[in-house]
């Protein structure tokens, strides 16, 4: 596998705090991977996401140790513009993503492309495609400031997708959406991953993480407490010590196994749990 992102011995302390927000983080992400970062609130997920795209330490200042290398570029030595063409970022709060300089959703989506000097024809093509993909095509002439939280979230994600980055970092990007909207947006992320884009996502929804992640990084108090596949992470009972609750599907499989009713693999998805339970009944 082709290594696309490498984090080594990364620590960061914000200039206005005494404690490190993240400490001694080490992991790599391969091309095309779906990589999830989980942990309770304030565990360092957002800081880590910001460090992957160079916002830490250049925008959010403080003391950084260690290195982040994105497609061969060390974020310390690279410019934000160079990084922006390789790695895209979707903020947790979509209102932080807006440029606040545009008068329409179409312009907002094209904002980054304009800065890269992309030709007008190509801009139109991409805006049309992304607007359709994110289901905001009926809003293209509206002001970004007139949108609902869910709509802004779609535009924010679209404005990152449209840059066609090789890697996309998403920081809890569905908080403003209801379950249906959240699944729709997530399906788009999944589809992009299917097209070969590497996805790194911080998320609270363990059912979704278990279903989709190739690898998971667990943070607690700014420290990395585990890295592994969903099966490795969720089969370890000590994960609960870090306030991570495994998906109910996993718990069902575990209980069936404890009762001697099931002997198969860990049940990471709804389908797997149903199959295990049905199997237990027809024994």
């Amino acid at each position: 596998m082709n290594k696309q992102l490498e984090v080594s011995n990364l620590s960061f302390r914000y200039s206005d705090t005494k404690q490190k927000a993240i400490a001694d983080i080490n992991f790599t992400v391969d091309e095309g991977e779906f990589f999830c970062i989980i942990g309770q609130n304030e565990s360092g997920k957002s800081t880590l996401c910001s460090a992957l795209v160079g916002l830490v330490p250049f925008y959010f200042t403080g003391k950084m140790k260690g290195d982040v290398v994105v497609l061969g570029e060390n974020t310390r030595k690279s410019s934000v513009a160079t990084l922006a063409s390789k790695i895209g970022f979707v903020f947790q709060n979509p209102f932080n993503q807006l440029s606040y300089t545009t008068v329409s959703v179409a312009e907002e989506l094209a904002y980054g492309l304009g800065n890269l000097g992309i030709e007008r024809e190509e801009m139109h093509r991409r805006v049309e495609r992304i607007a359709g993909l994110m289901r905001v095509d009926h809003l293209l002439n509206k002001s970004p400031l007139e949108l609902s939280g869910g709509q802004v979230q779609r535009v924010a994600i679209g404005s990152a997708f449209i840059m066609q980055p090789k890697i996309l970092v998403l920081d809890e990007c569905t908080t403003q959406l209801d379950p249906l909207g959240s699944e729709e947006v997530f399906d788009v992320v999944k589809a992009l991953n299917g097209e070969g884009i590497t996805v790194i996502m911080a998320d609270h929804d363990m059912e979704r993480v278990a279903r989709c992640a190739d690898h998971i990084l667990v943070l607690d108090g700014g420290k990395q407490v585990a890295v592994g596949t969903p099966a490795e992470i969720f089969s370890d009972p000590s994960i609960r010590q870090h306030s991570i609750e495994p998906p109910d599907f996993v718990t069902i499989g575990r209980r069936l196994r404890e009762e001697g009713l099931y002997s198969g693999d860990i049940t990471l998805t709804e389908e797997a749990a149903i199959t295990a339970a049905k199997g237990a009944l027809v024994r």
């Binding site: 309770q40 609130n41 908080t175 379950p179 249906l180 306030s243 109910d248 069902i252």
Partner: protein, 272 residues
């Protein structure tokens, strides 16, 4: 405490009809969850409970009295509303001031304010943060600050709008504790939530809204035992319930213990 909603319609200035003639009675101390997808009218409905919004037609009666007879400032003594977004609610420079603001406005005696503040701060995990600036709180703490500032008002009913939004496991556990404590004090707790696990763990009655109308109303068991009907509102039952239904278990279950019991029961029945 009794809230009666009578044929309530609400049309926004944009012409959008958010509530299309809705009738409900909310009373007693049974906690109530209102669910449904974005745009189904949940927030519009609850904003009528203390008069933040006024009916276009129909009426809302609080303990028999029409909502039209008093201002929101007056009603908020009786029904407290916790906003979905903390930044819409917080505006003072310490947590203590936020907690004391409402009670002082309604003329609560200083002694009672002190007691209420202590109780609310403890319940919401803010007792060590009372002198902090709300903007220096974490997003979780901010949310609990907005909840505490409504609890200090000591209203008879509390409405929570999406309290689980952005919360982690510990935050949700604390919310459950808050709701249960308030229930124990005889308060009517009403919540809007997308988190079905939170809903079935804490709320006795579930009301499902779809396009400005009530399409289901009953106990959590009754509502989630009809997955086809509920799917019309694009709500899915909690994960354990879905697995039980997918497996063909007859009982509607919400906990792993109940799931295992239902499995054993089905097995015994099949063996007969």
């Amino acid at each position: 405490m009794k809230i009666e909603v009578q044929n309530l319609r609400h049309i926004y200035p944009t012409g959008e009809e958010a509530l299309k003639g809705l009738s409900l009675v909310l009373d007693g101390s049974a906690s109530i969850a209102i669910i449904g997808q974005n745009g189904s009218g949940k927030t519009t409905l609850v904003k009528h409970f203390n008069g933040i919004l006024r009916p276009t037609s129909g009426d809302v009666l609080i303990n028999g009295e029409s909502i039209g007879t008093r201002s929101t400032a007056k009603w908020s003594k009786v029904v407290g509303y916790v906003f979905q977004n903390p930044d819409d609610q917080l505006f003072l420079d310490t947590v203590r001031k936020e907690l004391e603001f409402g009670p002082r406005k309604i003329g609560m005696p200083e002694e009672t304010i002190a007691q209420q503040t202590e109780l609310a701060a403890k319940l919401c995990g803010l007792d060590k943060l009372l002198d902090r600036h709300p903007f220096d709180l974490t997003s979780t703490q901010k949310k609990f600050c907005t909840i505490a500032s409504i609890i200090t008002m000591n209203p008879d009913a509390l409405v929570f709008d999406e309290p689980t939004c952005g919360q982690d496991v510990r935050g949700v556990d604390r919310l459950c504790e808050i709701v249960n404590t308030l229930k124990g004090m005889g308060k009517l707790c009403i919540t809007i939530s997308h988190d079905m696990k939170f809903v079935v763990r804490n709320f006795d009655r579930v009301i499902v809204l779809y396009k400005g109308r009530v399409i289901m109303d009953g106990s959590a068991e009754a509502v989630f035992s009809r997955p086809e009907e509920i799917s019309k509102s694009f709500v899915s039952p909690p994960p354990i319930t879905r697995v039980a239904q997918g497996t063909g278990l007859k009982k509607t279950v919400f906990t792993i213990g109940a799931f295992m019991d239902a499995m054993k029961q089905t097995e015994t029945e099949a063996a007969r």
